[in-house]
């Protein structure tokens, strides 16, 4: 197990390098940089051009992309994520608390998705083809079809504008409620459907009938016998969904002005602030990879037939 984790962590290095290479290549295709984006149209004349050139030289923006990549890598090796051109601050100082905010938001959204998705899935499977099941499945279909940005706006309209019970802007402890639900409910829908079909599949197995034959109640069958088996399939989906949550956070954070890395990323891209964008991509990628590692470990823990071999 420790060996497996070690190998998986080592594998992170080439993946991160690959991501860096791709983003630097993409950056090379963008015709402008942070300095130009900041001062374009505001300054003119020889002295301005000189100042801009000096700034570009300071951030190595005048070099070809592979040399920039080299500087970036050597900085990264020293634990330095670079400096934000626009904010005049070290990237690590800007990202730190925003990363925590995003983890908090996606964590809350995941909790909402799990609670809603699992319970509705289990109930729908147990009460298959009843009005309960049909209702849950129909609502789920809406959830799957609805994009996060639209659902977020809908929540703001209902709870902040009409009912006036929850804040729109991030203020106070309740601020997390709306964005977390906007993200969570959308992810709950596919989770519910997977849980439902997985539970129905497991409930048909021989070992469930055998357990029923020796007198396990329907509740015990569902919770003690079927659910641990159904969760194996559900977990695979959850691992993928965390990627969706991180991606969805970019949009939802922008809508709700939630100060996370998603909102920051949208700004950073508009500013052409490459050090910032790059750091956000790195942090998101690393988070996603770690989450997948945890999912795989959980997978082996849930299913004794799975052996961890790297």
């Amino acid at each position: 197990m420790a060996q497996y984790v070690g190998r998986r962590l080592l594998l992170l290095v080439p993946v991160i390098l690959g991501i860096l290479l791709v983003t630097f290549l993409m950056k090379a295709l963008i015709p402008t940089d942070a300095v130009t984006a900041m001062y374009q149209g505001q300054l003119s004349g020889k002295s301005a051009e000189k100042a801009i050139a000096a700034l570009q030289a300071k951030y190595h923006l005048d070099l070809p992309w592979y040399r920039q990549l080299w500087f970036y890598l050597s900085d990264l090796a020293h634990g330095n994520l670079g400096e934000s051109v626009r904010l005049h601050k070290p990237v690590s100082a800007v990202i730190g608390y925003r990363y925590l905010n995003t983890i908090m938001l996606t964590g809350a959204a995941l909790a909402i998705a799990l609670v809603l998705g699992l319970t509705t899935g289990i109930v729908a499977a147990a009460k298959r083809n009843t009005w309960l099941d049909v209702t849950a499945t129909t609502i789920g279909l809406f959830g799957i079809s609805m994009p996060a940005f639209f659902f977020g706006l809908l929540l703001i309209l209902v709870f902040s504008v009409w009912l006036r019970i929850l804040p729109v802007v991030p203020h106070g402890p309740l601020a997390i409620v709306l964005p977390a639900f906007a993200l969570g409910i959308i992810e709950a829908a596919p989770l519910s459907q997977v849980t439902r079909s997985s539970m129905i599949d497991v409930m048909r197995r021989d070992y469930i009938q055998a357990a029923r034959a020796r007198g396990a109640s329907e509740l015990a069958l569902t919770i003690r016998h079927a659910l641990p088996n159904a969760l194996i399939v559900v977990l695979t989906i959850v691992g993928l969904q965390i990627g969706n949550l991180l991606g969805g956070a970019f949009i939802v954070e922008t809508i709700f002005s939630w100060h996370g890395i998603g909102e920051l990323a949208v700004n950073a891209i508009q500013w052409r602030d490459f050090a910032l964008t790059q750091a956000i991509i790195l942090v998101s990628a690393a988070t996603y990879l770690m989450v997948n590692l945890v999912a795989d470990l959980l997978y082996a823990w849930l299913d004794p037939r799975v052996e961890l071999t790297a």
């Binding site: 070992y207 055998a210 029923r212 007198g215 037939r305």
Partner: protein, 359 residues
């Protein structure tokens, strides 16, 4: 008067102190024109401590009958008619809660595919301990210890470590021993074994049969053993019921049936069974044709289309009317129009024979 299916004298429905008494049981699947009538009015009883072998080929309804006893028929299947009385309790009258409390406590069941019947994500010890915790109210620790004892009693080597193993880590034979341990955990009065050795190696089969027989004999547990293998019945059972197309066609003591089978189907089954020490050149005889479509009405004897005796004697009645049970010896009953005593009855009165023919 010819004994009818509801008469107690012919040996299918036994005496009042039987552990299990089934009367007129009908189990069906589906609805309308496509209703498959898998069990078509079965009378069967099992005495306390008795080992009853239920024999029939695939599709005869023997497994459906076994599952019906525990009311394990899932929709679209249903028990359409009949009566199941177990130890004085009306099984068909139980509600869902009573049913799940009753299951496992008084009746244990062992199925054909032991590996598929064990939950893949639960330790074997957990699964053996579960009935002890849920039904006997033992604590986690005590239940686990007793589970280890049970595993030892069914002949699992190093039961302490096997209790911690998962089902995929044991062989089919061991998995079936585990299933037997679970089924016997609460000392049930009846054990149902539905083809428990069919999926196992021949060498393991004998061990499992011995284990089943010994466990039942030691504790006075009744055993309903469902199989298609007459050889297994010969080694194990006290009494045999032969099932064909949803009906019991012959029942009697093992000795009686194996030495003098009377129903043409039973005789066919015995001729079709391979014998290890058969005389050279002796051919196995199969039964021509196949089981009738159980979704169609069968007015007469279901075996008639395949029956050599019917053909030989040209008995039209076989196609029209189901023969009643006739007691042919002590605890030996057969339903066949081709029996000599039935043929005399046929001559006396074709519609309803009145002569006393029960010997």
């Amino acid at each position: 008067m010819v004994t009818t299916t509801h008469d107690d004298r012919h040996g299918t429905a036994g005496s009042a102190d039987d552990l299990l008494a089934i009367r007129g049981l009908r189990t069906e699947f589906g609805t309308g024109d496509r209703t498959v009538r898998a069990v078509r009015g079965v009378d069967l009883s099992i005495a306390r401590g008795e080992i009853l072998g239920l024999v029939g080929e695939s599709g005869s309804g023997k497994s459906v009958l076994a599952s019906s006893i525990l009311r394990l028929i899932r929709p679209p299947g249903r028990i359409a008619a009949g009566e199941i009385v177990f130890d004085g309790r009306d099984v068909l009258a139980m509600n869902t809660r009573t049913l799940s409390r009753w299951r496992g406590r008084d009746i244990g069941i062992v199925f054909q595919q032991p590996q598929g019947c064990l939950n893949p994500v639960r330790r074997i010890g957990w699964q053996v301990a579960e009935p002890l915790r849920l039904k006997k109210g033992l604590g986690r620790r005590a239940a686990w210890d007793e589970a280890v004892q049970l595993l030892r009693s069914v002949g699992i080597p190093s039961p302490e470590s096997k209790a911690r193993a998962y089902p995929h880590q044991v062989s089919g034979g061991q998995a079936q021993r585990v299933m037997i341990a679970i089924a016997l955990a609460l000392r049930p009065k009846l054990l149902i074994a539905d083809e428990p050795t069919t999926a196992l190696d021949v060498t393991i089969q004998a061990q499992i049969l011995e284990l089943l027989r010994d466990s039942c004999r030691t504790h006075g547990t009744s055993l309903l053993f469902v199989t298609h293998d007459l050889g297994v019945i010969a080694k194990l059972a006290d009494r045999v019921a032969v099932m064909y197309a949803g009906n019991i066609v012959e029942t009697g003591s093992v000795g009686g049936i194996l030495e003098s089978p009377r129903h043409p189907y039973t005789r066919g089954l015995m001729d079709a069974a391979p014998r290890l020490r058969s005389s050279e050149g002796e051919r196995l005889r199969d039964i021509p044709g196949s089981i009738p479509n159980l979704a169609r009405p069968i007015p007469g004897c279901p075996f008639a289309p395949r029956c050599g005796l019917r053909k030989e004697l040209e008995l039209d009645r076989c196609d029209r009317e189901m023969p009643p049970f006739v007691q042919s010896a002590e605890r030996h009953a057969v339903r066949c129009w081709g029996l000599p005593e039935m043929r005399t009855a046929n001559r006396t009165n074709a519609a309803a024979p009145e002569r006393e023919i029960v010997r």
